[in-house]
């Protein structure tokens, strides 16, 4: 009995083996099925169901491995074995890897589907046994129902264990190329939409794209065909168990295409908004693709229209996509993912070029607006701050950049970032290094004041309103703002509003942004400018010195633009702060009136005095600016002996002033003012506008054609070095020549004989050349704020030196605090940190001190 049994088992087993070999090896011949069933049933009765299943699976694996897998991978060997350079050659081939991939997939899937049929044959055999013997069902059911899943598992594990490393790469290339193709097809319809076919596109609710009907039948059927092919490849790949690898491949291809699309649309043009186009493109290309693909694969299940209870976790699910209709949840996720990626890409791109964008501001405001939207979405503001600060340090805050450039970029930065960041928090962080850097520059205050008050583009002697100054612009902005904000509060007394703003001081740097600020919008930029300088008083002081310099060098009394600027400054800094400047301008107005009164009366008198010896020069040529010196900054006075004829004019003028304004008297500041004169050489002449000292010098050469510097200095009443400095103006113009004098430090100056000599030595060859002194040739009439400060600070120099001897090295703060603590006797120390810093940097320039790691120490 047992022997019988064993023989029967062996017999059945041998038959089973040969039949399954016949089935698996056969060329699609499934007729073995009916013969196999009894053998399987017999073996099952003998309790060998598991063995049957395992043997069968093992044979399938062998066959699959040998017949299909090897062949499948062989298709890709040429690429996988190629060097990285050669791989590129594959990629540029037109139908690569599409052709190979779909062919290979077709073959292997064919083989697989045959094997699946074979599996089903066995499943049937097992099932029919089960049906007949319900008692023993349990074991066999286990085998039959697990057969197909085990087979699928076998297929994917065989493929994955033999997978060449570069297969994912091939898939990636495939999807990239296909998407690119799709993009080109879609570009036509997408662009025609851009051209104004909005409504058509928006309203065309053709949710069934794959059916081949859309805006443009041909494009869409072409694209739907393309998607169908891609879908087939995806389905085959999934069938082989490459589900997640495939998803990764087309995801990364979509992302890659999106990225290059963003780069292409954004480019280096900051003057057009791109975010809208990017978002439109996302809907037009990748989303349409995904929709079609998911639909083709049967993945697109719309939960909302299906079961009622399932709520989408996505808060803002769009009700409808153009061309798609109500999207599936998978598509909504994709939409969000792609948009986020687009925002982030555009944001990074714009942040990387923020410096250029700001240089281009306000023309670049579309780019700023895009960036603002991106940052609102991603919340990555800190990226902007870090990146921008480092580009500032690298590109702007360098020794080569002029203070003016830095300031202008700073103002543009403020304006641009104000849009992105109305609370000013990031602006604060970005502005910090600029402000710190500017505080270390000597001409910062001057440049700020010039930028605020000078509309002539930095040219102090410029005429008219060549352009708005910053103050004018800020004021106009504020007015616009006010008109917009308070349209229905028309009765607000504007004067009162200005009065309120008089008491305004900039917010401290560490101000809590949540607290807000009075008048923030109106004074934002100005406040930041003032915070660089330290205080409004310093700004006003610098302005006063610059104004004085400008007014004292005028040859007329035209001050309209200065009055306008003063009015603006009064608005922002208060009337009392500007009192002295107002008096200075008033002096010019008074001078104009007085000057014309005096001249009229002088000319009348000289006419009535008949037979007088003919005056060398007429009273008509003399004009005077008469100042209230108590209200002007300290004036640089220097003795000067002017020619007798001029002196006569001056004293006549002063006498007449005294007559008109008794008991007031005039005190001439003879070194100040401007002189227009003409040098006449035989028939030719040249005009110059110079300082009185230059006029006094050249006029002496009428009496005598040669002078030594010593005698001339004595005659004119100025020191030798001063004379040498001034006379070089005339030698540089070719009017005087210099030769060795009686001794080493005494030179002889001789006037040239004729114009031709002048021409030889100078650039002038016009019959009537006109020269204006350049800024370097002129000398300042007013002590600069720096010079004033230096004078006031000199008292503390010995304290500072003493401290440094004791302590070695000290920080700016520490020096400041120590001075505050100990210098309380007259004159008590009342300077600001910025003033001290500026004084110390003067000492560094003078090589008395040096700085190391931000500390001051004595120079050895």
């Amino acid at each position: 009995m047992e022997q019988d049994d064993a023989d029967g088992s062996l017999d059945s087993w041998a038959r089973f083996c040969s039949l399954s070999n016949e089935l698996l090896g056969g060329d699609g011949d499934l007729s073995v099925g009916p013969r196999l069933a009894p053998v399987v049933a017999d073996l099952c009765t003998r309790g060998l169901a598991t063995l049957v299943r395992d043997y069968f699976l093992h044979s399938l694996e062998e066959t699959f491995r040998n017949n299909a897998v090897k062949k499948f991978w062989q298709h890709f060997h040429p690429y996988c074995n190629a060097s990285p350079v050669d791989r590129i050659k594959f990629c540029v081939k037109e139908h690569w890897p599409e052709e190979i991939l779909s062919g290979a997939l077709e073959d292997i899937c064919l083989e697989k589907s045959y094997q699946e049929k074979c599996v089903l044959v066995l499943v049937h055999a097992l099932q029919s046994y089960e049906d007949r013997t319900p008692k023993r069902k349990f074991k066999a059911v286990d085998c039959s129902s697990s057969l197909m899943p085990r087979y699928q598992l076998m297929v994917s594990s065989v493929l994955l264990t033999t997978l060449p490393l570069s297969f994912p790469e091939i898939l990636n290339v495939y999807f990239k190329k296909k998407l690119e193709e799709l993009n080109i097809i879609m570009a036509g319809s997408y662009e025609s939409d851009q051209l104004g076919n909005h409504e058509l596109f928006e309203s065309s609710n053709t949710s069934d794209w794959h059916s081949g009907m859309d805006i443009d039948g041909q494009d869409v059927s072409e694209s739907s065909c393309l998607v169908k092919n891609i879908g087939k490849v995806v389905r085959d790949l999934r069938c082989l168990g490459f589900t997640s690898m495939t998803e990764d491949a087309y995801s990364s291809a979509i992302i890659w295409l999106l990225k290059s699309k963003v780069y292409e649309l954004a480019g280096d043009d900051y003057r057009v908004p791109v975010l809208g186009s990017v978002k439109k493109w996302i809907q037009a290309v990748p989303l349409q693709f995904l929709h079609a693909l998911l639909t083709y694969l049967g993945d697109s299940v719309d939960y909302d229209s299906g079961s009622s209870g399932l709520k989408s976790p996505l808060a803002s699910r769009p009700s409808s996509f153009p061309g798609i209709g109500v999207p599936s949840e998978a598509l909504v996720r994709w939409h969000m993912r792609l948009e986020y990626f687009a925002y982030e890409t555009l944001q990074d791109l714009r942040i990387g070029k923020l410096f250029e964008i700001i240089v281009d501001y306000p023309e670049s405001s579309p780019a700023i607006e895009d960036l603002k939207l991106c940052l609102e979405y991603t919340g990555q503001h800190s990226k902007l701050v870090d990146s921008f600060i480092s580009s500032l340090r690298y590109r702007l805050l360098t020794a080569g950049a002029s203070t003016n450039d830095i300031l202008h970029q700073y103002v543009s930065t403020i304006k641009a970032l104000r849009t992105i960041d109305p609370t000013g928090v990031f602006l604060e962080a970005v502005g910090e290094p600029i402000r710190d850097y500017l505080r270390g520059r000597k001409d910062t205050i001057k440049c700020i004041v010039t930028m605020l008050t000078d509309g002539s583009g930095g040219n102090a002697s410029g005429t008219g309103n060549a352009g708005d100054n910053l103050l004018e612009e800020l004021n106009r902005d504020a007015e616009n703002q006010e008109n917009a904000d308070y349209d229905n509060h028309a009765n607000i007394d504007e004067k009162q509003a200005w009065l309120n703003s008089e008491s305004w001081e900039p917010d401290p740097v560490e101000a809590d942004p949540l607290k807000g600020s009075r008048n923030r919008r109106k004074v934002d930029i100005l406040g930041l400018m003032v915070s660089i300088i330290g205080s409004k008083d310093q700004l006003v002081n610098e302005y006063r010195v610059m104004l004085a310099e400008k007014l004292l060098n005028k040859s007329d009394f035209e001050i309209d633009s200065d009055i306008r600027t003063l009015e603006l400054l009064k608005i922002h800094f208060g009337e009392s702060s500007m009192q002295k400047c107002e008096i200075m301008l008033n002096d010019l107005i008074d001078s104009k009136r007085t000057n014309s009164n005096i001249k009229t009366s002088l000319l009348k008198t000289s006419q009535t005095v008949a037979g007088q010896e003919e005056a060398e020069i007429s009273h008509d040529v003399l004009d005077a600016t008469i100042i209230s010196s108590n209200f002007w900054p300290p004036i640089q006075t220097e003795d000067l002996v002017v020619p007798a004829s001029v002196d006569q004019l001056l004293s006549d003028y002063a006498k007449r002033f005294h007559q008109i304004k008794t008991p007031r008297k005039l005190l001439w500041k003879k070194n100040l003012g401007t002189v227009k004169l003409e040098l006449e050489f035989e028939g030719r002449s040249m005009q110059f506008t110079v300082a009185p000292v230059h006029a006094a010098i050249i006029m002496r050469f009428q009496e005598k054609s040669s002078w030594t510097s010593k005698t001339l200095a004595t005659e004119i009443g100025i020191p030798m070095d001063s004379l040498n400095r001034r006379i070089s103006f005339w030698t540089s113009k070719g009017v005087l020549t210099e030769s060795a004098g009686p001794d080493a430090d005494d030179h002889t100056f001789t006037v040239v004989d004729s114009m031709s000599d002048v021409n030889k030595n100078s650039i002038a060859n016009e019959r009537l050349a006109e020269y204006q002194m350049t800024e370097e040739e002129g000398e300042s009439s007013v002590a600069s704020v720096e010079e004033q400060l230096k004078k006031e600070m000199t008292v503390y120099e010995k304290f500072i030196i003493g401290m440094l001897i004791n302590f070695g090295s000290m920080s700016l703060d520490r020096i400041h605090n120590t001075l505050k603590m100990f210098c309380i006797a007259e004159p008590s120390y009342d300077k600001s940190l910025q003033q001290l810093q500026s004084f110390l940097s003067g000492l560094v320039v003078d090589e008395k001190l040096e700085t190391r790691d931000g500390l001051y120490l004595l120079k050895r």
Partner: protein, 86 residues
């Protein structure tokens, strides 16, 4: 000598002064060449006036002083009866 200098315009700078003996007004302690506390502009707008005693004040200062006195006003400096210098 062949060169001639022709002055076309000489724009000079001067300052004005009341030329009083003292620097500051004895009443308001402000500079004479400045203005009294009530005035905005110095010079014509805020003139000086001399008393018979030869003491000078801002006109506005001495007028305020004179008007505030109940009896005969005296010069704040020398206490002599205040009279404007003719």
């Amino acid at each position: 000598n062949t060169m001639k200098v022709k002055i076309l315009q000489w724009h000079a700078v001067a300052s004005w002064t009341w030329d009083a003996q003292d620097e500051t007004c004895g009443i308001c302690r402000m500079a004479f060449d400045g203005c009294c506390p009530d005035c905005k502009f110095p010079g014509d707008d805020c003139p000086l006036i001399w008393g018979a005693c030869n003491h000078a004040y801002h006109l506005h200062c001495i007028l305020k002083w004179v008007n505030s006195q109940t009896s005969t006003p005296l010069c704040p400096m020398c206490r002599r009866e205040w009279q404007f210098k003719g």
